[in-house]
């Protein structure tokens, strides 16, 4: 069943590559989406394919809502598991909208678009947890610390801890 009242539920973005996402990444994203839904979070994604579609499918399987913020102007470009697709017409500026609207973010895999979202999220001071992503070195070659998780379960735990987010009551 879809939860009737997610008001007050955390809004968590899951970001990652679209069409060129591997099956492995999609499987991780689906599991992340399911776990988020089961804990009562609302999923926010870029609304397209690959990691975005897999996360939305997981959220649906978990009985949750998936909102897709599409870059283009055609709602039909969204994946079939979006509960609601919002065609923003903002192009890549919709990445900033995702970060702005979300309480926290989980990235699955790496791409330039994903990196822009991680960077904007860090810039804004919101929690972001990375699964299988790129890494960043500062000018002196030292790693810039990111919260990295090895599994979807660990990603959710790290996020819940950062958000001081207790599990949904059953």
């Amino acid at each position: 069943v879809t939860r009737a009242n997610p008001t007050g539920a955390p809004l968590v973005a899951v970001v990652g590559p679209g069409a060129d996402a591997t099956d492995d990444l999609c499987a991780l994203a689906a599991q992340v989406g399911r776990l988020l839904a089961e804990r009562g979070a609302v999923l926010l994604t870029g609304g397209l394919g690959g990691v975005m579609a897999a996360a939305a499918e997981g959220a649906r399987d978990g009985g949750g809502l998936a909102i897709g913020l599409l870059p283009g102007t055609d709602r039909a470009a969204g994946n079939a598991d979006n509960t609601v697709a919002i065609a923003t017409g903002l192009g890549q500026a919709r990445n900033a909208l995702i970060v702005r609207a979300a309480d926290a973010m989980i990235s699955v895999g790496g791409s330039w678009g994903t990196l822009s979202e991680i960077a904007l999220c860090r810039r804004s001071g919101k929690p972001v947890v990375c699964l299988r992503g790129w890494r960043v070195l500062d000018g002196a070659g030292k790693p810039v610390p990111l919260d990295e998780a090895a599994t979807p379960e660990q990603a959710i735990e790290l996020l819940a801890s950062a958000l001081r987010w207790a599990p949904a009551a059953d």
Copy 2:
């Protein structure tokens, strides 16, 4: 019950004054929201008070989803009947986002913000139906035609006709 799968449902914006909306306008907006939900549409609003809150309350009563696109950066500014509140941080540019994302619009009452949304909707060629709104005269003093409805029921009928939108199956 909240509908489990609104994918493919029309996304209809209801716009109108916020804090200074009269009780009459709010009653109309609540009825519009309820009728839209009962027909299976997803409601899109600016997420704040007055007409926006009343429409969301109606959508909830009708078992539908209400997405609120807030102008500011704080999700807590949204009304309590938003199913999901998206804090866009875009200021009044979120009006254009509402128009962009919606398939059609119903305006309830008049204000400068509402007029901007009607104008953008007409600019984009999408159907817009006005309940109790302002009117516009061209440079020669002739009325610029708008689709005006006398009741919420008539507004929905005009909209459904423009969208070639059949009633939801029961």
Copy 3:
């Protein structure tokens, strides 16, 4: 000569119809653009043709700067008299960007896009002066007051008064 340092100069938007603007409107817009430039203002427009191009041509003739905020992603769509064209890729949301960035606005003629800009400007409380535009009636059929000017010179005077803007020193 182009002014070397417009920092602190008022940023004034001139808005109006594009491709379907009449010659009369374009002549008015060109005069508005020239007068603004001669008083030291920076011109802001939507960067396309018609009223926007005429205003930019006037600003150039008056030795001023014209910034065009285009809706699309291709800078080449801008008119040839933009000093700088900014391809925003925001679609009609760029109308809100024009209003946001400007200190005040002059509208020349009427169209749905223009009306959206007037409405957003009024919503934001910034001065807007209308030359040959549409008029608005409230729900009771009473005119909603707008600052209307009969000539470009009068439009500038009304604007300067609203901005408490003294003429540029020679």
Copy 4:
């Protein structure tokens, strides 16, 4: 002298840290801004302090134009060397606007905001050259190639080559 007619000139973004930029980075940015102006480019920045202000100062010294796209709603937050400051009110979504509007980008130094701009620029396929910036490793720990320059002069040469941009005629 300020160039009277930059229509057709490349629009080059210079991005980098604001208030916490070191003196070394600011000196590099000023030199980049000056060289861009001397070659006839229009400078685009985020309009604030640090690297942004230094680049604008350099552009002014080189007789060019500097457009600042500010994140906030107050034009007065811009640095004193912006030729024109555009208060976008878009928050960090203005980073995407900078990338969208620019033909190419030079980053000076590293920060999360800067990294978001580099990533969006790479995502869009536009040339970006990095001076003293962060580096990125893919999931396997291999460096993701970026065009890196050792000096402002080399940054301009790399950019000009990528844009097939001949020096301005004197």
